[in-house]
């Protein structure tokens, strides 16, 4: 097949970068949902992560500190959600939506002085010259550290949920919180930890947007990526490796369609524009459909409030 002016190596390298914010937000939300909590505030947490990461990087001139701050900032926001839903038993859907609105507003307020500023470029890893390797170099050995971190997190979450005691407790809490409580596990504590992890991941994804992809602060810059992450968790039927597949498919097709346009392929633009959504949904539905218990993958206690007296 003739790729025209598209360079497949650059395309794959661009795909990994473009998918990372969604992947990070989605893997965090996956853990939150597996613990039985539905946090619809991903978009709000991402944008708060984006703005705190950006502000701290501008002030300290160290991108690494900015990433940590972005994760922490979003984590603080997620803990507000945690207190409201876990302690005061507020409705999770309403609180999550509120969190998104609040996050968008507060980030615009925080970022007012920082629009149009620039940050130091956060360097990519070069692996002692391995980045010069043809083909594999630009793809595998010349990415931003956070791209590797996101892949590590996917593997770690998969292993944690599957093979560790705490991971199984988290799943038990998500499946049946009354039983988990009866066994003496701390439902609220587990969920708080999951919510904080989800917040940190979303914040990291947001900071990756404002520090690497764009890189600058603009109001509302997440532009719906948090919602895509939420959708990917559902279509991935709450499985870590499928989240990876979903995020890379979405990011990949997004980048590919832009490249196909740039290279002047005679494919209707309307079709190309909707292709990321269409293809991601199709593929994830197909791989979920061959299991009889596909729908049973949803954590049974998802979105249900827990109170020890209940």
């Amino acid at each position: 097949m003739d790729f025209g002016s598209i360079n497949p190596v650059l395309l794959i390298a661009a795909l990994l970068v473009a998918s990372t914010p969604i992947l990070l937000a989605a893997i965090g939300e996956l853990v939150v949902e597996r613990s039985g909590v539905l946090n619809l505030g991903v978009e709000g947490m991402m944008i708060v992560g984006a703005v705190t990461g950006f502000i701290v990087t501008v002030e300290t001139q160290v991108p690494a500190v900015g990433f940590v701050a972005g994760a922490l900032g979003a984590m603080v926001l997620s803990l507000i959600f945690g207190v409201l839903t876990q302690v005061f038993l507020s409705n999770q859907v309403a609180t999550g939506l509120g969190l998104t609105l609040f996050g968008l507003g507060v980030s615009a307020l925080m970022g007012q002085q920082y629009a149009q500023m620039r940050t130091p470029v956060s360097p990519r890893w070069e692996f002692f010259g391995l980045n010069e390797t043809p083909v594999l170099g630009p793809i595998l050995f010349n990415q931003h550290p956070v791209v590797y971190l996101s892949l590590f997190l996917v593997a770690a979450v998969w292993w944690f949920l599957r093979s560790t005691r705490r991971g199984m407790i988290l799943r038990a809490v998500g499946e049946n919180h009354d039983a988990a409580h009866a066994l003496g596990y701390s439902v609220i504590g587990t969920r708080f930890a999951a919510i904080a992890f989800g917040g940190a991941c979303a914040g990291l994804g947001g900071a990756f947007l404002s520090l690497v992809i764009v890189p600058q602060w603009t109001d509302g810059m997440t532009a719906g990526r948090g919602w895509i992450a939420l959708a990917i968790v559902v279509f991935a039927s709450w499985k870590a490796w499928r989240v990876l597949l979903g995020a890379y498919l979405f990011g990949g097709v997004s980048v590919l369609q832009l490249n196909l346009q740039a290279a002047g392929f005679a494919i209707p633009v309307e079709l190309l524009s909707m292709s990321p959504y269409l293809i991601t949904i199709l593929v994830l539905v197909i791989i979920s459909s061959d299991r009889r218990r596909a729908s049973a993958n949803a954590p049974a206690s998802l979105g249900r409030p827990f109170h020890a007296s209940g």
């Binding site: 603009t218 109001d219 532009a223 346009q261 209707p268 524009s273």
Partner: protein, 357 residues
């Protein structure tokens, strides 16, 4: 009960507008924005216009605005709300607000509406726009002269006449400056999505483009161009924080004088429904400083073109120009009429690819 309270408020608000619209109360001016005021581009410049109105009239005006209003049914809600709050004049600042503006205006005959970049008017709806394509001509010339790969990239938002005019104008003048030039257009279907705009810029650059033009609102493509070391142009606002490279020049929309004028007309009771379409000459479109990254002779040519466009001795669409399919559009020396330009839905000869419907 609730409904009745709402209706009562509505009636009261409408009556208040009618009763106090004659100068005893501050004139209320509303703005509907498609993006955030901090976008650094399109909405930012409209908001500068709002600030200029406040500056000019002090406490004789009261302004209000709403950001990030989606183009569609939600826009009607936002406009209705502003009208109910007693706005005397409402500026709706994006093409997609056209039908919503007409619909809401029909419900509030005493409120004046001003719709940017559209073509539907009513007794209480004016339209205004700027001849951005004049600025595109200057950009196209610089782009054609400066490209080394002979590939110019264009990040386009929606397939509407305003955007298509810009692409055609930039292409025609790039081609005139450099006959080997090619134009690669990416449609992103958004006015504002920094990450997507950045991805589009990167995709263009990965495909060998070394000059990036954008018709979207954020500065993300500028940052991508800076990283890749290619040239870009500020859009809607100066974006001077990216000068001298990658941003070598810009198109600046200056709405302030128009807004002040129209608010004044409301105060004086002389407001009428009109259609304004101003370019470089009257100052609605400005060309931002051309930086030293541009060779001196190219800069001189660009400035000469700007002056010719300003005094009317040159029109950006002067024949001979053929349409993309090869059929004749303008004969030698003929200039395009505003009607055709306002509804432009075709590429000129030489641009590859189709305009999406």
């Amino acid at each position: 009960m609730k409904k009745r309270t709402f209706l009562a408020t509505a009636v009261a608000a409408t009556m208040a507008t009618a009763a106090f619209g004659d100068g005893h109360e501050p004139t209320k001016v509303g703005f509907i924005y498609v993006g955030p005021i901090g976008d650094g581009g399109w909405t930012y410049e409209h908001h500068q216009g709002l600030l200029a109105v406040e500056e000019a009239f002090g406490d004789k005006v009261e302004t209000m605005y709403q950001e990030n209003v989606p183009e569609g049914a939600d826009a009607e809600r936002a406009m209705t709300q502003m009208a109910l709050q007693g706005a005397d004049i409402i500026f709706t600042t994006s093409f997609g607000y056209m039908d919503p503006t007409i619909n809401v205006a029909a419900k509030f005959p005493d409120v004046k509406f001003e719709h940017a970049t559209g073509y539907k008017r009513a007794d209480n709806v004016s339209t205004y726009s700027a001849r951005f394509y004049e600025g595109r001509a200057v950009q196209g010339h610089i782009a054609g002269k400066m490209t080394e790969t002979n590939k110019i990239g264009y990040i386009a938002s929606f397939p509407i006449p305003e955007v298509i005019r810009g692409i055609n104008s930039a292409y025609l003048h790039a081609k005139k400056a450099n006959p080997d030039v090619e134009m690669n257009v990416i449609w992103v279907y958004t006015w504002f999505d920094p990450a997507k705009e950045a991805d589009a810029a990167k995709a263009l650059i990965d495909n060998g483009v070394d000059v990036v033009l954008q018709h979207t609102d954020s500065t993300a493509p500028q940052a991508a161009a800076a990283e890749a070391g290619v040239i870009s142009f500020g859009q809607a606002s100066d974006m001077s924080e990216f000068a001298p490279l990658p941003r070598v020049s810009s198109i600046i929309d200056d709405w302030a004088p128009y807004y002040i004028d129209r608010v004044k007309a409301v105060m004086d009771g002389t407001w009428e429904s009109i259609d304004t379409w101003d370019g470089i000459g009257p100052g609605m479109v400005k060309i931002g400083e051309i930086t030293d990254a541009v060779p001196a002779d190219v800069k001189a040519e660009a400035l000469a073109m700007k002056d010719a466009l300003a005094d009317g001795s040159y029109h950006a669409f002067t024949g001979p120009i053929n349409k993309q399919d090869g059929s004749a559009w303008l004969a030698d020396g003929e200039v395009a009429d505003d009607g055709t330009l306002a509804g432009m839905n075709f590429y000129v000869e030489g641009i590859t690819g189709d305009i999406p419907n």
